[in-house]
Structures are given as structure tokens and as C-alpha cells.
């Protein structure tokens, strides 16, 4: 009976982590679409309201995204996302690792993305300087 209970709890925990993992990976796929392919209509799904406001509003954020240099389709790096949940609150920290399609080079972003839940969905609330 006890073993069954432990297995059940482990199963629940595993499925919760798996669903969070999927949600974060989906979020960063959309982030790629916004930043690499300038699909700015997805901004509200990717960023928190607070982030958009602190970026100077939606128009300014769109302007910043459009200013980013155009990336050749072939050289757009693939992103590997690793994340961890905050130890106290409902916050997630994600790190991006880029794998360039051309050079198969790895480079890791030094920043951590802050991800919060807004209206039941995970969204990016900015980044936090590295250091530990």
C-alpha cells in the first residue's frame, strides 16, 4: 500500500514536471518566432504585461524587435533551454544554449530568463544578470 502511494506521488510529480517542461519549451519556440522571425503578434503570449510596460510599451518593444539584425534562415541557432523552478515562489529561471546550424558551436547565454505565470500561462518577465 505504501509503495503504491509513493509510486502515485512520484507519477504525479513526474507528470507535473513534464508538463512544465513542455510549457517552457513551447514558450521559447514562440520566443524564437518573435525574435528571429519578427512575429510580433505573439508578443502578448510571450511576455508578461509588466515586461511590456517596462520595455516602454508594446510599440517600443516591437520597434526594438524589428531593429534586430535579420538572421539568415540557415544560421538561426537552435536553442536548447534548461530551466529550474524557484526554490520559494512560482517563478522559473531558464538558460539558453545556442547551437549554430553552421558551425555546430555551442554558446551559452550568460543571463537567466525570469518566467512567471500570468493568466495561467508561463510568460517571460525579463532577464536577471548572472553571477553567483
Amino acid at each position: 500500500m505504501r509503495i503504491q502511494l509513493i509510486l502515485l506521488v512520484a507519477l504525479f510529480a513526474f507528470s507535473a514536471i513534464a508538463s512544465e517542461d513542455k510549457a517552457i519549451k513551447d514558450l521559447f519556440k514562440k520566443y524564437d518566432q518573435v525574435m528571429d522571425h519578427k512575429q510580433t503578434e505573439l508578443i502578448d503570449e510571450v511576455f508578461t504585461k509588466n515586461f511590456i510596460k517596462s520595455s516602454g510599451g508594446k510599440e517600443e518593444l516591437i520597434q526594438k524587435i524589428k531593429e534586430l539584425p535579420k538572421v539568415d534562415q540557415k544560421s538561426i541557432p537552435k536553442l536548447e533551454v534548461s530551466w529550474k523552478k524557484g526554490t520559494k515562489d512560482e517563478v522559473y529561471f531558464a538558460t539558453l544554449k545556442e547551437t549554430s546550424n553552421l558551425k555546430s558551436k555551442h554558446s551559452e547565454s550568460s543571463s537567466e530568463f525570469i518566467i512567471l505565470k500570468e493568466d495561467g500561462k508561463l510568460k517571460i518577465n525579463g532577464t536577471l544578470g548572472d553571477g553567483n
Partner: protein
């Protein structure tokens, strides 16, 4: 009625002015008289009642081991409070290696050049006697003779609150000392790096963000205040000096100016 509003307005303006004066002890004076008696207060440092993780370990150090101030930017919006950064840092660790509290020892809230908000305010962060978490846990730097002497006394103790703490020999490796142990972190809240995929809080090329003169002066005041209290502090560095990072953005190019400003208060930094 109109007179009452006018009176209220005048009262509020004088209160706001008093607040600014309160933070900036020698505002407008670029060469203040150096008070030879401690305490010297070039800038008021506000106390903050931070939440701490009582289950997390930390190390206590003799302050004589500190020789460098490291400048950071938080990468977050410049309106973020020290408490908010503390919340992020408390959440940042892992269950096996939790963070005790905010990793920086000083937090400067300040407007970007050309802006007026947020109000300039220096706050304390992690107490200076507690080893910080800011320069990078894998960064080690050569030891000075003074640091070797302090290290030899084995007075640096690590443990949790309420514990006696134990000496951690891994803080020095191959004759080099962990940068977090020998430095103190000062963060300027804000993001001084350009917008990019890895830095969505960054500035656009049309609206670059620079530190204001008051920001640089406040950092210089704080640096000098620390050197007057702890004379072994002789260097001002920046985060990317220790490892590859965009931190502290374009603040890095103002380090020389900060050192020059500190000279006005009677301090010399390498």
C-alpha cells in the same frame, strides 16, 4: 481653498527636496572637505529588512580580505527594488544549494541619463562581512600578501545561521582566492546593455541608456566611503573582468570616470 492647495504643493516640494538632500550628503560639491574622523558619509546607505533563507549556508569573512569593489548592472528594469532582487536571488538557488539572500552588498537605484525616475537611492545588500554571490563562483584571482596573511588565520567560517561555522579550504585554489571572497559587489539597478535575443530588457539603438553623472558620482562616493572605512580596498573592477558576461553593459566604459570622481573625495583606486 486655492491657498490650501498652494500650501500643500509648497510643502510637498520642500519635502521632496529634503529627501534628495538626505541621500546626497555633498550634492553639488565636487570637492567636499574630507572628514578625517570616521564615520565619513559621502552617501547615505539605506537599511533594508531583507528576507533570508535560514536553511542556506553562507561564509563570514574578516573584511581585511576585501581589496576590490565589483560593479554590476542588475539587467532588470531600473525601477526594481532591492527587495525584488532579493526575492529573485532567494529563488535562484537549488534545493541542494540555496541562496542565503541578495548576492550584492550595495544596491543603487538611479535613473538613466536624461530621466528623473526612479529616485537616486543607495541601499545596503548582503552585509559586507558575509561573502557575496556576484562575481561568479568559478572565478579565482591572485592573492595579495595581506590576503595571504588573513587567509592563514583561518577565520573565514562557513555554515548556516546559528551554527559555529567551519573553515572552507576550497575558497583558495592553487594560490588563488575566490573572487567573491576578496571582493564586494555593487549593483546599479537597470540594464545598460543593448537589446538582443539574450537581453530583451536591453536598450534600443535609437534610445541607448547611459549612466548619469549623478549615478557615476554616487558609485564613486560609495567606493570612496568603503575605502575610507576599509583602506585595503584599492581596486574598482567590473563583472566581465572575472568571466565572460555582458554585465555591466556600457557601465564598464565608465570605470575610469568613477575612479577619477573618487579622487575628488580623496580616494585612489587602481
Amino acid at each position: 481653498m486655492k491657498f490650501c492647495f498652494l500650501l500643500l504643493f509648497v510643502f510637498q516640494m520642500s519635502w521632496a527636496f529634503a529627501q534628495v538632500q538626505d541621500d546626497c550628503i555633498h550634492c553639488g560639491q565636487m570637492k567636499p572637505e574630507v572628514n578625517k574622523n570616521w564615520p565619513i558619509e559621502y552617501i547615505k546607505v539605506h537599511e533594508v529588512n531583507y528576507k533570508r533563507n535560514h536553511h542556506a549556508s553562507f561564509c563570514k569573512r574578516p573584511v581585511e580580505i576585501i581589496d576590490t569593489i565589483v560593479i554590476h548592472h542588475s539587467e532588470t528594469p531600473n525601477t526594481d527594488s532591492p527587495e525584488r532582487i532579493n526575492d529573485y536571488h532567494l529563488n535562484r538557488g537549488s534545493d541542494s544549494d540555496p541562496w542565503y539572500m541578495i548576492g550584492y552588498s550595495y544596491v543603487l537605484n538611479t535613473p538613466y541619463s536624461g530621466q528623473i525616475f526612479p529616485r537616486l537611492k543607495m541601499s545596503e545588500g548582503r552585509p559586507i562581512e558575509i561573502v557575496g554571490a556576484h562575481a561568479g563562483s568559478n572565478a579565482f584571482v591572485p592573492m595579495t600578501e595581506e590576503q595571504k596573511k588573513v587567509w592563514a588565520k583561518k577565520e573565514i567560517k562557513c555554515g548556516k545561521e546559528g551554527e559555529e561555522g567551519v573553515f572552507d579550504p576550497t575558497l583558495v585554489k592553487d594560490g588563488k582566492i575566490k573572487a567573491n571572497l576578496s571582493t564586494v559587489g555593487l549593483v546599479v539597478v537597470g540594464n545598460y546593455a543593448p537589446f538582443s535575443k539574450h537581453n530583451p530588457n536591453g536598450y534600443s539603438s535609437k534610445n541607448p541608456r547611459y549612466p548619469s553623472r549623478a549615478t557615476l558620482d554616487s558609485v564613486a562616493r560609495m567606493a570612496c566611503q568603503l575605502q575610507k572605512k576599509y583602506p585595503l580596498i584599492k581596486n574598482v573592477k567590473w563583472h566581465s573582468y572575472y568571466h565572460s558576461t555582458t554585465c555591466p553593459g556600457n557601465l564598464k566604459s565608465y570605470i575610469g570616470q568613477i575612479k577619477n570622481l573618487a579622487r575628488n573625495y580623496g580616494c585612489e583606486f587602481n
